[in-house]
């Protein structure tokens, strides 16, 4: 077995015990990235200092010093999370040479615990898109079928974990951008409760919805990384002052009896039959293990996509006003005056999807339309949140498919943004309500494409989600099946 095939937790144990050197892991992984990533396109940059960091960790271990919880684990970071040593481009030509003057909170946490940043991964520009085709630099491909998209916007993050060219990845999830690519790539993707992980150093897209999320090979790896990056940070005023449970230690301490709600709106028209079948079989696994399955309704689900695209575009149009070519980012040459400079710098560097969202956002916020669109959508958000509040009085978890269809072909939905937006229908509600959600592998289509199941829980109950997901993993083998691409 190659080192890159192990999980993050396994590789950490090997390094800590002295069985393997951290530098061996990094060397093998860098070699593999060189060979495999040209077909996938998951990385935008590679950390040239990774090997020296690994050597420093090996020295620490050799000399008997204590090492951190992530000792020697190579971790890939979505390129909208700020890193001091590597460029942070957000997948945008606007920031093609941007070097952040500080590390994001999550990057500080990882480095403090001796994790090694291996590189920065591709994304749809500023997180806007569900396919990673909207990156300003390159398209990322799905290791399960190179003709297909890996999902997005954290497509590089998910594809790298699936292809065994990273052990763990950080992404960001505004409307499903961690869970959806995790589902399309057959890996685990967690979006914690809004505010659970500090957004300090995460480049803003839609601030009331953005949350840093995790992508991993199995549930234990997510628990391992969550433990390190979760918790209060005073540099993000929406960061939550809540206790952080011991995720790993408690992973198998699941309550004997729990209730799972199955919302009928998530199994309605438009859901692929193979996905429906897989998720229903997954529910049977829980049933056999003593869970009570309850049919239920989240009546406002069908309004989620419309409300989300109004709110997120509005917030994006405001957040992206900062890219004016003055203090950082792309600036055009030879402009007539300052307004011309703003206009041309922005028009020449933003991609089409970003331009569309900025225009949508400014439209729904403009005089005469604010009440009809933005205010109305914010009220619909309340109704969706109330649906969940009521549901969680009766059930402990809600299970649904993560996506209505499996990974589609590159180029299939590029010309029709609405069609792409509509496929976010199962992931968006968790962002609007601020609740945590996890996607885990639960089957394959006849074509061999991965199917993901989403488990949602009450605010702050990441621990419960991890336990339920872990229970499913312990009863099934879907998470152990790798794409053929990995072996060739």
């Amino acid at each position: 077995m190659h080192l890159y095939e192990f999980t993050a937790l396994q590789i950490k144990e090997k390094i800590k015990s002295g069985e393997t050197l951290a530098q061996e892991v990094i060397k093998e992984l860098l070699d593999r990235i060189k060979v495999k990533d040209p077909d996938i396109g998951s990385y935008l940059s590679i950390n040239e200092n990774a090997l020296s960091k690994a050597c420093a960790i090996d020295d620490k271990i050799k000399s008997g010093q204590t090492v951190g919880a992530l000792a020697g684990i190579p971790i890939a970071i979505k390129d909208n999370i700020c890193t001091l040593d590597l460029k942070t481009t957000c997948g945008s030509k606007v920031l093609s040479s941007f070097l952040s003057p500080y590390n994001a909170h999550v990057v500080e946490c990882i480095e403090k615990e001796d994790g090694i940043i291996i590189g920065k991964t591709n994304l749809d520009e500023f997180g806007m898109g569900s396919t990673t085709e909207h990156s300003g630099f390159k398209v990322t491909r799905n290791p399960w079928d190179l003709q297909r998209i890996p999902g997005g916007s954290s497509g590089g993050a998910a594809a790298s974990v699936a292809a065994d060219i990273s052990f763990l990845s950080l992404g960001s999830d505004t409307g499903g951008s961690v869970r959806q690519p995790a589902s399309f790539c057959g890996v685990v993707g967690l979006k914690p409760t809004y505010g659970r992980i500090s957004r300090y150093g995460l480049v803003a897209f839609a601030s009331s919805l953005d949350q840093i999320g995790l992508i991993s090979k199995d549930v234990a790896d997510t628990a391992l990384l969550l433990q390190v990056i979760c918790g209060y940070d005073n540099r993000d005023s929406t960061s939550l002052q809540k206790d952080v449970p011991k995720y790993i230690e408690q992973l198998d301490s699941i309550e004997k009896k729990f209730k799972i709600g199955v919302p009928k709106e998530f199994f309605a028209n438009g859901l692929n039959e193979e996905i429906s079948k897989s998720v229903n079989e997954a529910l049977d696994v829980f049933k056999k293990n003593g869970a009570e399955i309850v049919e239920m309704s989240l009546p406002h689900t069908e309004f989620g996509v419309a409300a989300y695209y109004i709110i997120s575009a509005a917030e994006a149009s405001s957040n992206l006003a900062r890219y004016d070519g003055v203090r950082y980012g792309y600036r055009t040459q030879n402009c007539k005056n300052i307004i011309d400079m703003y206009e041309r710098s922005r028009s020449e560097s933003f991609g089409n999807e970003v331009k569309r969202r900025i225009i949508m956002g400014n439209y729904v916020l403009s005089t005469g339309y604010y009440d009809a669109y933005y205010l109305k959508a914010s009220k619909v958000r309340t109704l969706i949140k109330n649906d969940f509040d009521k549901a969680f009085e009766k059930v402990d978890y809600i299970i649904s498919p993560t996506t209505p269809v499996p990974a589609y072909k590159v180029g299939e939905k590029v010309s029709d943004p609405l069609e792409m937006y509509l496929l976010d229908t199962y992931t968006i509600p968790a962002n609007l309500a601020g609740i945590p959600g996890i996607s885990i592998p639960c089957g394959f289509t006849n074509n061999g494409l991965p199917i993901g199941m989403q488990i949602m829980g009450r605010h702050y109950n990441e621990q419960g989600l991890l336990q339920v997901a872990r229970k499913f993993e312990s009863e099934t083998d879907f998470h152990k099946i790798k794409p053929k691409f990995n072996a060739t």
């Binding site: 941007f98 309004f303 695209y309 149009s317 600036r331 005056n337 009220k379 109704l383």
Partner: protein, 93 residues
């Protein structure tokens, strides 16, 4: 959304759209906005809007002086700089 509104909002957004881009966006955005109309089917008169999903309201902290970015770091990404400043075109006529 019609063409005039698109041009108005593009200008507010400080985006210049070429003719082809304008036609393409108009067609795509019209479809999106027609879809978004569906939220009007809901009666929300008595519903309070949600802007934030956590229970946090005003978040206060002590007003403590801490080190901030050095001038060098703050200017490191400047497209054009002049000594201690970001340099841009003339702002006032």
């Amino acid at each position: 959304m019609d063409k005039q509104q698109l041009e108005y909002v593009a200008n507010l957004s400080r985006l210049h759209l070429g003719n082809d881009e304008e036609d393409l966006f108009l067609e795509q955005l019209q479809k999106v906005f027609i879809y978004m109309e569906k939220i009007n089917a809901l009666d929300t008169d008595k519903v309070i809007a949600t802007y934030n999903t956590t229970d946090a309201n005003n978040v206060f902290r002590e007003d403590v002086v801490i080190p901030s970015l050095s001038e060098e770091k703050a200017l490191q990404n400047a497209p054009i700089q002049n000594k201690h400043f970001f340099k841009v075109q003339q702002v006032l006529d």
